[in-house]
Symmetry: D2
């Protein structure tokens, strides 16, 4: 039996731009770079999402200086024999392995202008944690005391859009952009010729049209795309709608691990690696399964951390100012997250370490209730088993340890500690009451 | 060894109003109705949330005619020996059993005016499903072909607010109401003397003040309250902040089962029953654990349905009109839900049956991604093991069966089938393209 | 909807003997005491296995003095409409609840003569632990520091044998007895008129024949019977072969919890209670499913303690004497158990407490390997989450606490501490080597 | 960050004999081949257990002709910095990957003379199944219709014995051999110079003594060794007793998957591959944790197949002859296995396919009860989710499909079908009764 075929090979230590079989736009005009048979097990090399801008170092200047116009370099397209529009492409995600020469990944907190869930609340300054891969587990010198198995997954997995579907994406997203002129950060990102890349020899007019009309890779869409679903992981099976002959699958943005939401934006453990896949086709599957977007079966080998310390969040008072939102799940999510960060600070982690950890670890977040006005209720669950000591809420309280700090900017600037500020406000309010 | 003490007894077959030990407002002014020792196992009888308005019948006129001003009748307050403000009250939810004479519950779809996640999209008409309890499992003559173990939990569990906290709730919620004058449905519900009830002999002026200032029971708040968290279930342990001496715990709104979000509003399997509890106190626990809201450990006996058919949803095109929302998790949740309903319709379930089933069954919903503009990504997972046949997406497609229908209004009016309408639009668009 | 029907009612506080609907032999001659329809949810009251001989007390004299000739008092037979020989009886175990007036159970170590896995090695003296039921959880004043959810199950669930099957049981078991004359403890227990009981008005000759020929209830057999399978628990579904018209199901020997093997013989948490069941019939199921013995699907609500500290055992050196057994799984099991007991002793538990705990807690035991001569390999796994503190093997070692002692005989006699003796031998051997 | 260091490299396509860093005896005299620091992540290449005798082919002549005197070729010893006798060596099993050029493994049924659990009952003839590795999953052209995630583990992981411990092993095993003169198959395997191999340049006298006194690798012992524990898998952490300076760890006999017991002897999916490990040391750990044998924590990424169709087995009537064993767990295990095989035959699998599948798939086997004379009770559980169709015991019965056959001897000889024979006996007995 021959080794499984590697249909796209990349060098993770060189810039993604210029390498064959990569692409950073979605378009029906990009021809298949490789072809596979149904049922064939094949491998695809993938760059990490920034294409090598982030280093295994102990400062976060590279995060501060990141150029986000280049992302995401995907690998593909891969055509699957026999797939036609209206079929369902069954994709088995069989394995993801890092490159031997790059057994590490990173999680970053971006500068405020570059986004992230708490960008404005924390007035974020660039920070990062380097994670070392120890087989299926990750540890970090920047966040001591934790170790967890990865829910390793491709952040992006998608079939090629048809001409009609691409036109529809561009139409509806442009309408949103038009409705919010000058909005920053942008509400959506329209086609952008600058930086567009396809690692194939294409006629100039085709390449020009791809660059001019191709959809950006940031959001998830009907074809899958940048779903960032932590459970679409090694061992899962997805059914994707097919829009063009051959399906023309592309894949990338590998994540060694990620919590629900990936809150710090660059919040997964970003990695380069080799993904092993197998594809088959269900004829007419779009109609058979009413596929408007992909469906999938999560993996039987997802890490199982059943004991989950769970934090509740409701849509109030994010800033210690008594504000009340109306049924806002995002505020409730943030409140749950702040509560978890406050708990982690009691254990000795810094704000930055806690924010990075909740982004990257196998954290579960459920929308618990969306019908009880005015408060949405969201939960966030953290598995105590990933810590190297007992962190349970025992009667004697929590022991605070010194965990150092993650990688910061070399000028030492840090994010604003909203939790400390909220605590200060609470103390002052209490003191006011007592007078 | 004596039987465990029942500290509040109710008659679930008689109206809740007039029964001792019940209450439907939150206030520091409501004295403890019962007292328990730390570590004592005790039982509390609880009404179902409407206080007996819904019948075990085959039409939904009772749902149509429900009087929502009466809800929720809780049982309490129960004072816990030694608890003081600033402590954490550790509550073990030890068991919930239905009354022998009422081994059933119900899930309802309300009329559009009364709310629910799809109230406007589906222009909902009252519908319901009666669920028969078979020990730890539920089945329904109105939704044949499914059977599942309950994630049985109290929708409401909360400590009494202090005077200051109650004032803060009223202030911030009134500010929201004031900011949305005339809004329907209401953005929040302020104190309302009408219908206020406390099942104790109280001085008239105290009762009058509770009625005038007491907080309504609809939302979850810092003390817990109406969290509607499906995993705060039998076997879980919660740490609640204490605001008044004795903690003064109240409990009710029992749910035999519920999916994440409880989407149809009356979407859990609503039941009356007896809850068994145990409380202890961690001195200074609010500070020790940084408790702004409750935290909890989910139960080791929550039903484990590990194989989960998962539907993705993004924030676009709910109405088949190509609309694009900006990073809206609610739209993404709804889209995932519509995708699941469309799948269930392929199996033969009606729109109403599918909507009720996704509300009541142990459905998991994760916020997958909130950082990839413009599309939020939410997943909804349905366990195939709850069906009495194979519902997996096999190559041969799904077999459609006749499952009848749930209970409708006696005049036969039904909700609007948005999915059918979307499919019609898609067919017309396709036909238009081909001309 | 009416309450579920209780088809057999018992009084757990009175002697089982004399109560209607109970029985302690298996025979086709015992007529159905009750009849149920297919699909009907019904309840059956059950005595604890000794019929009330053991008290909720702090000495173990009742265990020392137990009369084992009376066991097991089962409840039944219950005929199921439409069941015939050759069918499969599908039994749903829907719930088990203790009696309100008896919210406790017990685990016992018998005197050496009465058996148990370590009876001879430990030269056991009667000991016991009383367990208090706190809803779905158990704690014990005799084994402090642990609390776990029950894998609650009927130790015994069986259909009635046909005349032919009963004859076959008696034949083959008598052959075994005959082959080991005078063996103590007995290798098998043949029919025994003394103590035989059926709680029905039967003609004297029929009763006499049942007493003379009826099979004893100790072992599991083709019909199910005393399987003592911890995972045939609340929420499981079993398919039992039917041998007589109506199937004539009997049930009893309820266990609140049990580890694999139930090693101390009276090693489950023995309880009285009410079991809720539902039965349907698969025509010809014996042939359809090749049923020689029952098959079953374990429950989705079995307690999930995924982190499992696992002890290995091989078939050597049980007595610190360097003995070597040939591929003996029982010795390997015992060795794994001794290793677990030694670990528990490091935490501060006594030999008796550890032996009782491993018998009653949700301990998993796997036959790991039976093919590597000369050593069988068996594992025993203990969930750290059932302890109220961290018991993991951390670098700093284990903290020894004072956990008192379980209930002993009033004369204070204790079992022989084999582990201490083995340690002594090891120290002496080590000292010998150094000289 | 540099790639993880590979401390032992092997060529899986060449004979193990002659390659450096391999060994097939246990002895304190074998010097460390490699040294690692505490906490260092390192890789070790491992041969499959027969050292390359079995081919990826469609007949089983290679199984028939296997030379068992060569096994097992292990990789090691690896010394760990700072480890001393009396310490516990903490071993993290971080990953196992097959060689790219060998993405397959095999499961074999040996000829009767070479052993296996049913060797005599089935009068086994050599058979095999080749398994293709698809990332973390395996499928087989010889057993169609199943696919499962591997519980991938080293069958052998052990520290070096001290001189005293080795002497003790030899003493006690020789005593067993002496007690069973001429026994076939052998009850134990004493030291055997023939075939002994250590892949290092050693002085002739040392090598001669290792060959003469070194312990064989077949059984598991106090140091770990050939435990064949399926849950000592990727992601688990083990604490092994240390007997010599450096601990001198050796590892091998990799299994892609295995059921509890590995019943057909060569019953795991045998593979070559690269294992990634990390070791640290707990000083004095043998005493701290009362380590007589290893203890371990199973992995959070073990495949989770929670729905388990469970077969019961009791210690009777293996041959359809009504025989009765006394409390024999092995017979009960075999009976459960026969019941599962009979069920698989109803689905269309052959006896050989079923036997191989139950050996290699993630089958769980629990010792349920060992105290109810005369019948031991053992369960065997098979996860329906590994099949590509519904195999549940539905009312309509099981659909029989044509699954072909596994690889047999080229002369077509097959094992004896005990199940068919038992069914024939049952039919004849039934016919006899009716006359």
């Amino acid at each position: 039996m021959a080794p499984h075929r590697t249909v796209i090979s990349i060098d993770p230590l060189k810039p993604a731009k210029g390498q064959a079989g990569t692409m950073n736009r979605w378009s029906h005009l990009i021809p298949a770079f490789a072809k596979v048979a149904q049922g064939e097990v094949f491998k695809v090399g993938c760059h990490e999402w920034t294409g090598g801008q982030i280093k295994n170092s102990d400062d976060a200047d590279d995060i501060r200086d990141v150029d986000l116009t280049q992302i995401h370099y995907l690998s593909g397209p891969v055509a699957v024999e026999g797939a036609e529009a209206g079929d369902a492409l069954v994709v088995d995600i069989l394995d993801i392995q890092p490159y031997d020469e790059m057994p590490w990944g990173y999680t970053g907190i971006f500068e405020e202008k570059d986004g992230g869930l708490f960008a404005t609340e924390f007035k974020t300054k660039a920070s990062k944690a380097i994670w070392d891969f120890e087989g299926r587990f990750a540890t970090s010198r920047h966040i001591p005391g934790v170790r967890f198995a990865g829910l390793t997954h491709p952040g992006i997995l998608g079939t090629a859009p048809s001409a009609e579907l691409l036109a529809e994406w561009n139409r509806r997203e442009q309408a949103l952009i038009d409705a919010h002129p000058g909005c920053s950060p942008a509400v959506a990102l329209g086609p952008e010729p600058k930086g567009a890349y396809v690692g194939q020899d294409l006629p100039a007019d085709v390449m020009e049209r791809i660059a001019r009309e191709g959809a950006r890779t940031i959001p998830g869409r009907e074809h899958g795309g940048n779903c960032d679903i932590k459970n679409l992981s090694i061992g899962s099976r997805a059914w994707l709608p097919v829009f063009v002959e051959g399906a023309n699958l592309a894949v990338g943005d590998l994540h060694f691990s990620q919590g629900d939401v990936q809150q710090s934006f660059c919040g997964a453990i970003e990695q380069a690696g080799i993904i092993t896949l197998k594809c088959t086709v269900v004829k007419g599957g779009v109609d058979k399964f009413a596929l408007k977007q992909p469906i999938f079966l999560p993996s039987p080998i997802d890490p199982l951390y059943t004991q989950q310390l769970t934090f509740e969040g409701i849509s109030v008072d994010l800033h210690g100012d008594g504000s009340q939102k109306s049924m806002c799940a995002t505020t409730a999510y943030k409140q749950a997250s702040l509560n978890a960060i406050a708990y982690l600070k009691k254990l000795g982690y810094t704000l930055e370490q806690a924010y990075l950890l909740l982004s990257a670890a196998p954290v579960e977040s459920h929308v618990a209730a969306l019908v009880d006005v005015p408060n949405a209720m969201v939960t966030m669950s953290l598995p105590p088993a990933i810590f190297d000591r007992d962190i349970m809420p025992r009667p004697e309280g929590l022991e605070k340890r010194d965990y150092g700090q993650c990688a910061l900017r070399s000028d030492g600037q840090r994010s604003f500690d909203l939790i400390e500020d909220n605590e200060r406000k609470a103390r002052e309010a209490e003191a006011g009451k007592k007078q």
